[in-house]
Symmetry: C2
Subunit: 138 residues, 2 copies
């Protein structure tokens, strides 16, 4: 079992322990395992992936932590779905929850699409600028 401590998790995901504790405080991460007051936090691979996903949405799409909270809650909703799934949820219920998550995915896709266009334009503008500066320098 790969039990990570907070410093190791921070190093792997390129953030800080402070940020991880703050995200826990906001209910975005961990805290699932009850923990004796004052004892060390531990994390698994799933936590690392979740944290990276949160940071991607934060940095690349510019989502606030409040918006990430909504997304996280939808994801938890999906985790509940998985339980129901294996427990034998009916078709109607599956579609219901899938439709709910689809709303967030489409919202994020639109944001990502717009950002991608803007970033491509910026990249091209910078490349052209480099070209011109290169010609001056010779």
């Amino acid at each position: 079992m790969t039990a990570l401590r907070i410093g190791e998790l921070a190093r792997r995901t390129g953030t800080t322990p402070r940020t991880i504790r703050y995200y826990e405080e906001l209910g975005l991460l961990g805290s699932g395992d009850e923990r004796a007051a004052g004892s060390h936090r531990t994390y698994g691979e799933a936590d690392a992936e979740r944290l990276e996903e949160l940071m991607r949405l934060r940095d690349l799409l510019g989502l606030s932590l409040d918006e990430l909270k909504e997304v996280a809650e939808a994801e938890e909703h999906r985790a509940v779905l998985r339980e129901e799934w294996h427990g034998g949820a009916d078709e109607a219920r599956r579609r219901e929850i899938a439709a709910e998550i689809l709303v967030y995915v489409e919202r994020q896709l639109e944001l990502a699409g717009r950002r991608r266009v803007e970033l491509d334009e910026l990249y091209d503008a910078l490349a052209a600028k480099r070209e011109r500066l290169g010609e001056i320098i010779g």
Copy 2:
């Protein structure tokens, strides 16, 4: 002449008067024209473009306002260059300043390149997710 007031500039660039005043306070924008204490700020097309550029670098590349300050100072350096240029700067001087700006442009290009890759990956992952959800819904 198109003299914009702060509210109009904010509306056009998709930000707020508060942000524009803050950027001026940090020396990122305007304040070039001296202004009687308490009188209205005015802006031109050039200011609008500069503000949009600053916001692009902030949002798309994730630069801090301190980093934007450095970039802005390099740009001002280039503005000085333009004066010298028309005033007949010599080749060596032109190359010198161009080389200085090139450093920032290359740094930004590398950042933009990395971000573009990450954003493409995120976009593809979201698109695949939408696909799967669509199949469940039918």
